[in-house]
C-alpha cells in the first residue's frame, strides 16, 4: 500500500552563520498520509519546515517534488508547487473576517483578482469540504474565534488553492482537549482526502492518534522515519531523546558530543 512520496528531501544541510542546524536530512512525505515530525526542542523541526516552505534557502542537498528535482527559493515558489505551511504563529489578522483572512496576501501572489462573491463561495466550499461545522459565519471577525477555530481557518487557508502538501507546525500546542480533538480530526480528514500532511507535535498521543508515519529529528539529523504501525511509544521517545532505539536510528552518536 506504499504510495510514492510527493515530497522528497535528500541530504539537506542548513547553517545559520557558523551554527549548523540541519545535517544530511532526508525526509519523505506521501499523499494520503499524515507524517508526524517529532524531535526535542531545538532539534530543527521548524527550520526544516521553513526550508520546505522556501523561507530559508538550503545550503546543500536535494529537494524533489512529484518526481522532479526543484529549486525552492521563496514561499511563492513553494506555493506554486502546492506546498503550504501553517506556521506556529498563524499570522491571521484579528480585525479581518474569515474570508478576508483566507485570501489575505494570496490574490496577488496568484496574480488573480477575485470578487467578493467568488471569494466567499470558495471559502465556504473549502470549509464545507473539510466538514468544518464549528464556524458559524464566514463573515465573522477572526478576533471572535477560539484557538481551535483560528487553527481551522489557518488550515483552510492553506488548502484553499488545491495544495498538495500541507505542513502544520505545532497546531495543537496551545489548545485544550476539546479543541485539540477538533484540529486532529481536521488533520486526519485532510490526509483522508488525499493530501500529504506533515504534523509537528510534542504530544505523543496526538502523534499516535493521527499519524501514518513518524519522522524523528535528533540534533539536526533524521534519526529514523518509521511506520506508526511498527513502533511503540517508548521507541519513539528513545529516538527523540537519544537518536536511536535498538536497531532503529542513528548508528553512532553521530559525531556530536552527547
Amino acid at each position: 500500500m506504499t504510495t510514492t512520496p510527493i515530497l522528497r528531501l535528500r541530504g539537506i544541510d542548513k547553517s545559520f552563520g557558523a551554527v549548523q542546524v540541519l545535517h544530511d536530512v532526508s525526509f519523505d512525505v506521501r499523499p494520503g498520509e499524515v507524517t508526524a515530525l517529532v524531535g526535542d526542542n531545538g532539534a530543527g523541526k521548524s527550520t526544516l519546515v521553513k526550508c520546505i516552505g522556501g523561507i530559508h534557502p538550503i545550503d546543500g542537498g536535494e529537494y524533489w517534488f512529484d518526481g522532479e528535482r526543484v529549486q525552492v527559493h521563496s514561499p511563492r515558489e513553494a506555493a506554486a508547487l502546492g506546498v503550504e505551511i501553517v506556521y506556529q504563529d498563524l499570522a491571521l489578522c484579528d480585525n479581518l473576517d474569515i474570508v478576508q483572512n483566507m485570501f489575505l496576501g494570496r490574490e496577488k501572489r496568484r496574480g488573480l483578482v477575485l470578487d467578493d462573491t467568488t471569494m466567499e463561495e470558495m471559502a465556504a466550499r473549502t470549509l464545507e469540504g473539510l466538514s468544518v461545522r464549528t464556524v458559524t459565519s464566514i463573515r465573522q471577525q477572526v478576533s471572535s474565534l477560539s484557538g481551535g477555530q483560528r487553527q481551522t481557518v489557518a488550515i483552510a487557508k492553506a488548502v484553499l488553492w488545491n495544495s498538495k502538501v500541507v505542513v502544520l507546525d505545532e497546531p495543537t500546542a496551545a489548545l485544550g482537549v476539546a479543541q485539540t480533538a477538533q484540529v486532529l480530526e481536521l488533520v486526519r480528514r485532510l490526509a483522508d482526502n488525499g493530501l500529504a500532511v506533515v504534523l509537528i507535535s510534542h504530544n505523543m498521543n496526538d502523534v499516535f492518534a493521527v499519524s501514518d508515519r513518524i519522522a524523528a529529528l535528533y540534533l539536526g539529523r533524521m534519526a529514523a522515519q518509521v511506520s506508526t504501525s511498527d513502533v511503540t511509544y517508548s521507541q519513539v521517545v528513545e529516538l527523540i531523546t537519544s537518536g536511536r532505539s535498538g536497531d532503529l536510528g542513528l548508528a553512532h552518536s553521530n559525531g556530536v558530543t552527547a
Binding site: S131, G176, M204, N205, F208, A209, S229, T232
Partner: protein, 404 residues
C-alpha cells in the same frame, strides 16, 4: 433448476439500488448513477422517472457548481416526504428522531433520564409519545416508512426480543412489539444493539465510509461493539455477535463485570474502570466525568495520566485481539471512547503494534467516530430504511394506504 429472476424482480432490484445510491451518496447525476450501477442511461432514466412519479426522488439543478456552462440535473432523495422514526434508549437520555430519506434529521426529541433501571413499558410509552408528536407535526402527504430502536443489550434477530439489557434491568422484554402497539402506525418496529447500529452508521455515513471491514467500539456505561465484515454487519447465529465489551482479556485476576464474568474488556477499560483508577468521586459518571479525567491528564495530573495509560493498555490488548481475528481496515472509537482514544492513543497503538500480527495490523487505521453522539440514532434510522431500499414502490404503496 431455479429460473433466473423475472423482469419484474430485476426492475424492483434496480429501483432499490438506485434509491440506495442517492440515499447514501446524496444527490448525483443520472450519468454518475449509470456508471455506478453499470446500467445504460436509458434504463437509469426509466428508473428515475418511476421513483420520481412515486415521490421518492426529484430531479433538480445542483446548488452551485462554480463551473461555467449548463450544469446537468441531479437526482435528489425526497427527504421531506419520506421518513423513518428512530429511537435510542440511552443511559442518561432517551432520543427519538424523524429522519428523512437521505439521512436528514427532520425533527428530534431528547429526554434526559437518570441512569439506572427503567420499566420497559414506561420507556416505550415515553418514546411513542414523542414519536406521535413528531408524526403529527409532519407535513401532510409525508410518509413514515419504517421504525427502529436501539438498546444497549443483546437482541434476538428473529423477533427483536431484548434478551438482556442490564443497565435498564431488562430481561426478555418484547420492547419492539410494545412500541409498535403504542405507536399504532401499522409498522413493525425493528430493534437492534446500539453499537452494532453505530457500526452500521459509521460504515455508511461516517469514519468508515467506503471501508468494508470495520470494528466499532462505543463507550458509555459499558463498551459496546459492532463489526462490519465484507460490508455486512456481523450478527452471528442468533444476532448476538459483536459483544466486544465482553471479550475476556484478563480472566484470572480481572475486575468483575456486570455480565457475571471477570476481566471483560468493559470491566477493565470501561467508564467505571477509568473513573475508579483516576480516583474520581463515584457519584459522578458519564460523559462529563470521562472528559474531566482526560482534561486533568492533559494538564499533567499524574493520577489521571496513569488511569488513562492503564485503560489504554487494556483497550490496546482488546483491539490487538480483534485485529488478529478480524483483520479490520478501520477501528472506530465512538461515544466516550473517542476522548479516551485521543488521550491514550500512544498507549493503545503501542500495545497493538507489540501484540498484533504484522500482516494483520500494517494497514490498520484507528479513527474516532465522525457522527458523534448521533451514530446510534443514524444507525437505527438505516435499519428502519432497509425495507424501502429493497422494495421502494411496494413499501411506499403500503405506507400510502395506511395514511390515506
Amino acid at each position: 433448476m431455479k429460473a433466473g429472476p423475472s423482469q419484474e424482480e430485476i426492475r424492483r432490484h434496480n429501483l432499490g439500488t438506485l434509491l440506495r445510491h442517492v440515499h447514501i451518496g446524496g444527490s448525483m447525476s443520472r450519468a454518475v448513477l449509470a456508471e455506478r450501477m453499470g446500467l445504460n442511461r436509458s434504463t437509469i432514466l426509466g428508473l428515475v422517472s418511476e421513483l420520481g412519479a412515486a415521490g421518492l426522488v426529484r430531479e433538480e439543478l445542483p446548488r452551485e457548481t462554480g463551473r461555467a456552462g449548463r450544469p446537468s440535473l441531479v437526482v435528489r432523495p425526497e427527504s421531506d416526504r419520506v421518513y423513518v422514526l428512530a429511537f435510542d434508549v440511552g443511559v442518561d437520555r432517551m432520543s427519538a428522531a424523524r429522519i428523512g430519506l437521505g439521512g436528514v434529521f427532520l425533527d428530534r426529541r431528547e429526554i434526559p433520564v437518570l441512569p439506572g433501571p427503567r420499566d420497559a413499558g414506561k420507556v416505550a410509552e415515553v418514546l411513542a409519545g414523542c414519536a406521535l408528536d413528531m408524526v403529527g407535526a409532519a407535513r401532510r402527504g409525508t410518509h413514515c416508512v419504517g421504525v427502529a430502536a436501539a438498546v444497549r443489550g443483546t437482541v434476538r434477530r428473529s423477533d427483536g426480543l431484548v434478551r438482556a439489557a442490564p443497565y435498564l434491568g431488562w430481561e426478555d422484554e418484547e420492547f419492539g412489539e410494545d412500541l409498535m402497539r403504542r405507536l399504532g402506525l401499522g409498522l413493525p418496529v425493528s430493534v437492534g444493539n446500539e453499537a452494532s447500529l453505530g457500526a452500521l452508521a459509521e460504515h455508511l455515513r461516517g469514519a468508515g465510509t467506503g471501508c468494508q471491514d470495520l470494528v466499532y467500539l462505543h463507550g458509555d456505561i459499558g463498551i459496546g461493539g459492532g463489526v462490519v465484515t465484507g460490508g455486512q454487519l456481523l450478527g452471528g447465529d442468533c444476532g448476538y455477535g459483536g459483544e466486544i465489551g465482553h471479550m475476556v482479556v484478563n480472566p484470572r485476576d480481572g475486575r468483575p463485570c456486570g455480565c457475571g464474568a471477570r476481566g471483560c474488556l468493559e470491566a477493565e477499560a470501561g467508564e467505571r474502570a477509568l473513573l475508579e483508577a483516576a480516583r474520581r468521586d463515584p457519584s459522578s459518571t458519564g460523559r462529563e466525568a470521562v472528559h474531566a479525567v482526560v482534561e486533568a491528564a492533559d494538564r499533567g495530573d499524574i493520577v489521571a495520566r496513569a488511569a488513562l495509560r492503564d485503560v489504554g493498555d487494556w483497550l490496546g490488548i482488546g483491539v490487538a485481539n480483534l485485529v488478529n481475528v478480524l483483520n479490520p481496515r478501520t477501528v472506530v472509537f465512538g461515544g466516550t471512547l473517542r476522548e479516551v482514544f485521543l488521550g491514550a492513543a500512544a498507549q493503545i497503538r503501542s500495545r497493538i503494534n507489540r501484540l498484533a500480527l504484522t500482516a494483520s495490523r500494517e494497514n490498520l487505521r484507528l479513527r474516532v467516530g465522525e457522527l458523534g453522539d448521533d451514530a446510534v440514532l443514524v444507525g437505527a434510522a438505516e435499519l428502519a430504511f432497509s425495507e424501502i431500499l429493497v422494495g421502494p414502490l411496494e413499501t411506499l404503496a403500503r405506507a400510502g394506504a395506511r395514511t390515506a
